[in-house]
Symmetry: C2
Subunit: 369 residues, 2 copies
Amino acid sequence: MSGKPISFARGAPSLDIVDVEGLKAAAQAAFEQDPAGLTAYGTSVGYPPLREWIAEKHGVAPENVIVTNGSMQADAFLFDALVEAGDSVIVELPTYDRTLLSLRGRGADVRMIELEPDGIDVAALERVLLTGTRPKLAHIIPNFQNPAGYTLSLAKRERLLELAREHGFTIFEDDPYVELRFSGERLPTMVSMDPQSVVYASSFSKTVAPGIRVGYLVGPREVIATIERLATGAYISPNMVAQGIVNQFARSGAIEKSIETVKHALQERVTVLSQALARELPEARFVTPEGGYFMWVELPRGTDVSALFSLAAQRGVQFVKGTDFVLEGYESSLRLAYSGVTPAEIEEGVRRLAEAYRELSAGSSSAAD
Amino acid sequence: MSGKPISFARGAPSLDIVDVEGLKAAAQAAFEQDPAGLTAYGTSVGYPPLREWIAEKHGVAPENVIVTNGSMQADAFLFDALVEAGDSVIVELPTYDRTLLSLRGRGADVRMIELEPDGIDVAALERVLLTGTRPKLAHIIPNFQNPAGYTLSLAKRERLLELAREHGFTIFEDDPYVELRFSGERLPTMVSMDPQSVVYASSFSKTVAPGIRVGYLVGPREVIATIERLATGAYISPNMVAQGIVNQFARSGAIEKSIETVKHALQERVTVLSQALARELPEARFVTPEGGYFMWVELPRGTDVSALFSLAAQRGVQFVKGTDFVLEGYESSLRLAYSGVTPAEIEEGVRRLAEAYRELSAGSSSAAD
């Protein structure tokens, strides 16, 4: 018997931390206050009041912002605008699997640079640059990275910007989790430190709800104007109804309450997860994240996480294998998402995961006998 | 003085024929009945209950349907799936400008076949096929075509399907206006006549509202499965909130009332437009459409519609030049959209348009003196 399924796989919030009542109220208010704006085609740059709200939040002009159908669509537009087949692109090792797929699908020359607990190894990046690699773009998830949960330090943010200016590449600052810091101190965004060297992406998936599918880019006007043309060609305009609802949710203050709810839950969940792992699976090495959805877990060298995956699945427990976030290696790592599971589920899930690990270890020792 | 601006340019409904109250109610019901479905990521095939509603409506399985962020996004996915650079694609002459742009942007070999008042000239198409052209796709807007307002006859639908089977191409039946027939008899869709030869696209932009950005494709399972993978890569999943609202709007019956409202208004508008043109601008040749948003107007050979466009703009009147819908020629044609203008605006707009035409004619006669 596997028991109730427990998923540490998907980076999505559980329904209990989504403000459904707030969304209903925002939908009513949006249709009442701007029926024409919500129901007409609108423009490819997004619903103007939301675009303005985002611009104000980032201290830029609306012309520096485009609001899209989710931030992955924004990433795709940015890659379409800046990356051609054969172009070098720097990414973190490990990194978000969909970014990897998207870049490889475009024929980019993907260079992975190791991620350390304080962010990308900038010394290693510099060595790559000094060999003559001329990247177009460096994709960086600065806060509570997916999959590692690590955060880029201020010193490394500064160094990355220096390298971008010196070597003429754009930093793609992919920052969907920034609002979900539940401990430690907030760091400035790279786009605020050097608006000309950075295109910044974020989303309302983690602060409102994923199903609302609203993301955005902040960047130099000429880049945003190029992407505006791509967006017109792809879909005329993004979802005005959804963006109108997000606009109301943001301007009414519901978003601040929603963020507090989410952060509180995430902090509780990560605490339970860290304690449960330390207790049940002391072989696991991890850094407790200061925010976000994900924890990266390294098991002893030689652990076959692919086999662990199957043994855990037999017990109804799902996670994502480390190998999904890299081009090669990382066979002994895994990603645990704690955003969609309650504390009780976490306790039970880690218990079953540890059980699967014991079975795996017993199997390999006996096989070695 | 140009007076109040009157736009015959954009194919969009005026706000008075959009059921804003119905949308508000649908939003409430959707969040109440399925908060998890609306707020979670969902899947790339679209919100499952809406996908099922569409499948039932077309008498197919849900696996034959994918629901997208507007039907232009669906078109783009279909072209990505089926059309490579250099592939021949048949389109109507004239046709929707964004389809032309999208196909040319992909490097397709676009072959335009003249549109007659009963639809594409199938004899001309056959001649092209007999010269050895092997198209991948034929893009057909069967009902109340954009820009011409013409409708494909039943006999031509049958002949097109025969040609598709014989020559091995897919018909892309692009049918956003089908529900907006206000006179004459409804004809069967080609996808219902031969589901294997056709991929069908439609949208809720004309029956609910454009800002809701929900479109869909119906087609063979393998084509839909390919597009599902493209959609996952583009945006993970389309807008669940918007699709949940459309699902409620459709299942509650609000959509039927909305369609009645729209059809009634369109019929009134097209009647006023036809009468005003006959009275004020008897030089104009046109076929009064039996549905949809658009009327195609041909002015006497040699009329410089580009100059007319400027003279009309000086009078606050906008339309789209015929040349926007073709690769060459059609300098004396224009498209009038009557969906976004009231009867009074139509009267006044045609009066000003006729005035602009008189000025143009006077100018050319005096220039000829």
